[in-house]
Symmetry: C2
Subunit: 725 residues, 2 copies
């Protein structure tokens, strides 16, 4: 890629970004779009324009984002989102401080050397060196004492990282403690999840078994238990019923509208009962759904009762009368062997993965390892297509492989655009396919809560993207030219990797640029959700509930955002000393990201769960992994320059490991367990435990018809039948 196509790519991206920002400023002022641009505020019952973003000019949102505090973020989007911003500002801080030291120090050192001029003319021509190369370490001679500057720069970046990461861990730990000690009643703080309950003893019900067990251990603080049931059937019925209720409401709305607009007696809506509403008998919709509902309601009630009675599983939610008791119980060993009566702290009721609760202890272990193997295989085999894409889409190779395209590809405009975007777009599309698969795999491990599954998937995605994208592209990009060399000496892969890094710098610069300009432009402008919302409202939505569903925003989705950001950070870190200019791009990416996501967190997204910052240790570990990868790369690269003092760099990975170990030791446990001193600040008034209990009843079992006594009765009638032993 030559310098002009790099500038083209950068320029086009920036123009797209500007257009999208202007579009956002214009569209977000229209009151009709408020539900798309301010759903978070609307759901919290605030006036979308309270701060007058409409009146404050085009860029009022920037001021608002900048002036917002961490408390604002927590109150609008929760602790998890606040932690995401701690992550962004920490890495932004690392890059800004590093940049302030490195750019003035390294660029002059690099540009005043002249290795590239000394190279044999033939090589220089084929490689097509650009200004970018002159500003990088590629321009520094082997064994040059100038390499001292670059070596020291690695130390600077590392120590800045340690300092800021330590501060961040401290800060997040305090954030988590503050959130947990708030006197507000959170049901999950009074509950624990019990799994691997042994078979019910003769003559006891499952509920009696659980109650006896916990009453013996916690005579004073045990409140109540709820046996987990297999809700597959009842969930299906309940969803069918809810669907029919919505359809009935819709049909009634259509009928009411037809009265207003058409004949005063109205047109009763009809539909066909067959495939997709296209075939079969034509029926009156209102009658049809009313009938179906009145059929389903008793069926659901019967299923609810039989579920409670006959489908109990070997898991339970146990409630305590105080937060300390629950927190302490969740951390203690209950049974003499670990595979019985295992306890964990309860997640929020809404994010409990009920179906995973029945999986047995050793099955969970086994599943975990099987999933790890599958993920490892996926990482390995994804490398092949990505390598191919990267190799095919370099223009030279395209021309070689598809000679009939040669005439088109020689057109200047086509060539520039293709060269600028094709590989990056292929990469981005490819990466978008993966998160769903990884989330599915993580849930298969038997993880009991949504947030934990997202964390697990996110961690896998990070390793995937770093290994495949960064290392994969770097290797594959040079694989075609140096394949024979590799065959001769398979151990040379590390030096090969280090050697090919500078050549791939422009690719990654473009990748980062594309990602932040176009990605964040789309994010801010919300063009896609806006269009979808307007289409839905115009043609599909008939009831208020349907319209609300159409604009309801998702959550920030940090499960995929974090690995994406981490990939960029890994790339920027690894190039920070080799081609220091990349720091500027990294800062722009992260700064813009901070700004735009701050806006989205304050006004748009609504968190779907809260894990009180449990994501942080994962993020921390992965930033550190990036840092170690960077340190190793630099060791290889500076070593490859035949610099005798390169082995000094060996201390850095070791230091990083020690730093990680100490931080992990000091802070990690309070992210896994709840510190008792934190929850000991109980609120004065006794919480409504009944309500805490009810909040854990799954919606499909939570019928108004089944009152609490029946619930209890049904639960205690179980297993007299003896069918679950």
């Amino acid at each position: 890629m030559d310098f002009s196509s790099f500038l083209t790519s950068l320029g086009t991206s920036f123009v797209i970004f500007l257009v999208l920002v202007l579009l956002f400023s214009w569209l977000s002022r229209k009151p009709g779009n408020a539900v798309v641009y301010y759903p978070n505020r609307i759901l919290r019952g605030l006036d979308p324009n309270e701060n007058g973003s409409g009146s404050r000019g085009l860029f009022g949102w920037i001021g608002e984002a900048l002036s917002s505090t961490e408390e604002d973020v927590i109150s609008s989007s929760g602790v998890d989102t606040a932690v995401y911003f701690v992550f962004l500002s920490t890495v932004l801080g690392i890059l800004i401080i590093s940049g302030l030291v490195l750019l003035p120090a390294l660029l002059p050192v690099a540009v005043t050397d002249d290795r590239l001029h000394h190279l044999p003319t033939k090589i220089a021509q084929t490689k097509n060196y650009t200004v970018l190369d002159k500003l990088s370490m590629a321009n520094v001679d082997d064994k040059s004492p100038r390499l001292w500057a670059f070596l020291l720069a690695v130390f600077v970046v590392s120590f800045v990282s340690y300092y800021l990461l330590w501060k961040a861990y401290n800060h997040v730990s305090a954030l988590r403690a503050n959130a947990l000690l708030s006197p507000e009643v959170k049901p999950e703080q009074y509950a624990i999840i019990v799994r691997d309950i042994p078979p019910v003893p003769e003559g006891q019900t499952r509920k009696e078994q659980v109650d006896t067990y916990f009453k013996t251990i916690y005579p004073d603080t045990f409140y109540r238990s709820m046996v987990v049931t297999d809700n597959k059937e009842v969930d299906k019925l309940w969803q069918e019923l809810e669907g029919d209720k919505k359809k009935l409401a819709r049909a009634e709305a259509i009928y009411a509208e037809s009265k207003r607009t058409g004949k005063p007696e109205g047109t009763r809506p009809t539909h066909k009962t067959g495939f997709l509403g296209l075939l079969g008998k034509k029926v009156d919709s209102i009658e049809f759904y009313s009938e179906k509902i009145s059929e389903l309601v008793p069926k659901l009630e019967a299923e609810q009762k039989s579920t409670l009675r006959e489908k109990q599983l070997a898991a339970a939610v146990v409630f305590f009368t105080s937060r300390v008791a629950a927190a302490s119980a969740a951390q203690s060993l209950h049974a003499q062997t670990v595979d019985k009566w295992t306890v964990i702290d309860a997640p929020e009721p809404c994010q409990l993965l009920w179906t995973n609760l029945k999986i047995k202890f050793f099955e969970r272990q086994l599943r975990q390892y099987v999933v790890y193997v599958i993920v490892a295989l996926t990482i390995f085999f994804y490398m092949i297509p990505i390598g191919l894409i990267s190799a095919f889409t370099t223009l030279k190779n395209l021309k070689k492989l598809l000679p009939f395209l040669k005439s088109i590809l020689d057109e200047d405009a086509v060539r520039t655009v293709l060269e600028a975007y094709l590989p990056q777009i292929a990469l981005i599309v490819f990466l978008a396919l993966l998160p769903k698969l990884l989330l599915f795999l993580s849930k298969t491990e038997g993880i009991p809560s949504q947030s934990h599954a997202v964390r697990a998937a996110s961690g896998k995605y990070f390793y995937f993207s770093v290994l495949n994208v960064f290392i994969g592209v770097t290797i594959a990009g040079t694989l075609f030219s140096t394949f024979k060399e590799l065959q001769k000496n398979p151990n040379s892969i590390i030096s090969l990797l280090a050697g090919s890094i500078p050549e791939n710098a422009p690719f990654f610069l473009t990748f980062v640029a594309l990602k932040f300009f176009v990605g964040y432009g789309l994010e801010l402008s919300r063009i896609v959700p806006l269009i979808i919302f307007h289409i839905k409202r115009k043609y599909l939505c008939k009831t208020e509930a349907e319209i609300k569903e159409a604009w309801l925003p998702g959550d920030l989705g940090y499960g995929t955002r974090v690995p994406g950001d981490l990939l960029v950070i890994t790339i920027v870190l690894c190039y920070s000393v080799i081609a220091p200019l990349i720091i500027v791009f990294g800062v722009a990416y992260l700064g813009l990201g901070w700004l735009i996501l701050r806006n989205q967190a304050l006004k748009v997204y609504v968190p779907s769960y809260e894990s009180y910052g449990r994501m942080w240790p994962h993020i921390f570990a992965r930033i550190l992994a990036s840092l170690i990868l960077y340190q190793l790369t630099m060791l290889g690269y500076i070593g490859g320059k035949k610099f005798y003092f390169a082995p000094f760099l060996i201390v850095l990975p070791i230091l990083s490991l020690i730093f990680g170990f100490v931080s992990h030791k000091k802070f990690y446990r309070s992210f896994h367990d709840t510190a008792l001193e934190v929850v000991a600040h109980e609120s004065k008034e006794i919480p409504n435990l009944e309500q805490v209990f009810r909040s854990f009843i799954p919606p499909s079992l939570n019928s108004e018809k089944i009152d609490d006594d029946q619930f209890e009765d049904a639960l205690s009638q179980v297993s007299r039948t003896g069918s679950f032993v």
Copy 2:
């Protein structure tokens, strides 16, 4: 070593053993020796001869040992000793079952082959093959299909081991649970140790700080706290006082005796106050010590007060009103960062290592790693002297190195004895020096209880002895002959090790034989303690207390016994298939050990602490490590025979790791933490918590003069002075 010297060694050992056993039978019947042979029974207030061991003939003790139950062992020597017997019977079981399968199967297969006859005559002569070699794998041809039998034998031994180890882990887990759930009040079950207490806040005492903290978290179950103090000074004074009291009692006893035996007015004992009682002024002993005591008592009291007031450390013992509360508290995270308010379950008061309690969290971590490094270095550098000993003491080398000894060494009798014993004795003496060093190092890690330190030292000792003795001797024994080969190809160390194993078989057979015959003979006959006791009683002891001190037995010392046994087991396992005859020796060693130590556990030794079987996971892990070493050795050895199916053996180490992982997961945590269901069986009556509290007061602070109120007062006056912040 030829066959005759092997038989000589075996024969001599056996004769020594027989003599010692007869000596034991004869000596143990004399009533005057009862305190040496039955101290455990005497201390428990039982009649030494209750079971009529005196009347039941020479070998009555064997019947008693065989008929004793596990409960007998627990009641006489505690759970830890019972666990030691579980260990012995498990490995005994492994060897017996393996022997029953392997001996009839492998010996015929080996002896009917004839590789040794086919070897070139020259090699055969220098190697000096014996009957032992003919019965071993050394006699099986390379690539022979007979190797299938040996390969399968490895699988048999492994699966027998898995089965019995699993059963043993289950059994020990139950033993531990039973001991912990007993309604008997054990002070340590009501207490936890708190370390890393943050600096005292302004205006509070240390005691108030601790009390407030725990009262907030455990408003209902917190009983009381005891701040740990720096007792160095007060301990010194207290020991001086106790010593003087003993000396006074002794002087008075001498005076009283002199009245009886000499002049009716008696001779007042005198001594000199200078160096060792040899120099200085002559004084009247009774007056001197009385005076000294009356000086020391107020000094001690003053020091006690000032210790309690001014020497408080950042650690405390916290007491709870129930066992569940204490067990749960010991497992829970209390502070948001792990390096503050760290808790562990309290060990027995007598085994608390008070001085280690003040060491800070990260200092403990650091110390641990520093100790690991030191131990690793020790292991490495001990190898050199041991290798030298092993090389020098083979007779051939001795003659080569010290030619002037040639005439003596050529004497048959001298040669046989030297060949038979010299290397083994050198090894045993060498190994005896180490445990003290390792125990010291383990205590330096900052471990807070004696039993834990013993466990840690014991584990280190195992790795030390396996690495140095087994691998070291095996390598060093062949190093002199094959040094050049090793220089050519340093990677050959594994094949070298495997190849040299059969050559060293006689060495280890003799080692095992010597260890069990002579070692257990001495153990049973207690010749050394008996002689020491009689000398002391005759010439030194004047008071009853002194006599009791002279016969008081130690504990079983399983900290050094277990690694010793494990070394034998490792050797026997590793040779079990190569030279199956060794199994007979292994069974004899373990069987004899079981019998003799059973006798000692029931009648002699008195446990000095109880850790409720916490030693077991360590033992288990090390048996498994031996098994894996065995499997790897066999892989190398059978592979070295150029047997194409040898790679099948690779599954075994993997299986062992999985087995270890599953067992560890399932059982380990209940050895680290106390399962709540176990301690939930509280006794009906409320324990005397005051007594529980007082049992944790160190003896040097536990003066009758300082009553409880003063203790409390003194504690609460602290740090108003502000000196500990």
